[in-house]
Symmetry: C2
DNA sequence: CGATATTTGTTAGCATAGCTAACGAATTAT
DNA sequence: ATAATTCGTTAGCTATGCTAACAAATATCG
């Protein structure tokens, strides 16, 4: 959806602000685009032989490093019993390992194994390569525009929930 | 991730093209941002009382109009037996209806009911409002940049798989 | 026309992934 | 020391994905 010129509403301090309905429109388009994008790249995951929950948990372990089961559950927005089962499945496949914490015997630290890390990176590469293939149809200037938009989005994600 | 100036590699026809590794980098960042964005807005869905597969199928019915079970399964990238069950659940809750096709008695056309349409739109509003709330922290120029990036992304999605 | 093939959706049965409730073990607080 | 809290697991439910096998309707072909 291509939008027209900026529409501004001055506030009491004189700082121009885009009209609220435009922000909602951008939010709606962004939401819709993200859904359709992921729906498409996700299909590549079947080639890894692992389900989405396992791949997602593994990616946290690989990119953020070892952590306890509870931390991993929080990171994945999942309840502890769910993560217990996901970790058990990863362990049975040799993709992750549980290590007891010597400080606190209740805690269990989860590590990705070499095999797990390799599998995750292979899967990630499939998704990204597929997406990159589609992006190569864009002109240089379109790619620059897209890249700048992503930079803004990364700032939004970094400040999510603050203030 | 903020990228520097354009990096170009002339091809044999003289058309400048961004280096391949930059395209991969943009694809990677876009992929990652989309994952984190949806993971966050998704939490709003619990307020609707329906699961993700039902909400997703319902959104196709609401925004694309009535269609057969097979078409809906294809749109949702799901096998027919899975969609049979999702539609049965939507029907039992009064969110969708099955109508037999008078032309071809094998076909079953699925319609969203008023109640289904209302529920879907309520849920969608929750997601988008939550996202819009985060976007309001951006400056006008950042919002413009983001909007332009989304327009490019929508073009990519529109041409997906072509050529 | 009638036998066969294809298409459409369902049923059955399995695996994965989410939840809450209830619990056991370890640690911390009183 | 006892009580409260924390961390993870077990049990058991629901939801969502799949393949295989099937029934019914339609299409095709001899």
């Amino acid at each position: 959806m291509i939008r027209g010129k900026m529409e501004r509403m001055p506030d009491s301090a004189g700082t121009p602000k885009l009209a609220a309905h435009r922000v909602e429109g951008i939010a709606n388009d962004l939401h819709s685009a993200a859904i359709h994008l992921l729906r498409r790249v996700r299909k590549q995951d079947t080639k890894t032989g692992e389900g989405p929950a396992r791949l997602s948990a593994l990616s946290v372990l690989v990119f953020a490093g070892p952590m306890t089961l509870g931390e991993l559950a929080t990171a994945e927005q999942v309840r502890p019993p769910t993560m217990t089962r996901i970790v058990a499945a990863l362990e049975s496949r040799g993709l992750a390992e549980k290590v007891r914490d010597s400080e606190d015997a209740r805690r269990v630290k989860i590590h990705a194994t070499q095999k797990g890390s390799a599998l995750l990176k292979r899967g990630r590469k499939l998704r990204v390569a597929y997406l990159a293939h589609q992006l190569r149809k864009l002109s240089d200037s379109e790619l620059m525009t897209l890249g700048e938009g992503i930079s803004v989005l990364e700032r939004v994600l970094g400040n999510w929930g603050r203030s």
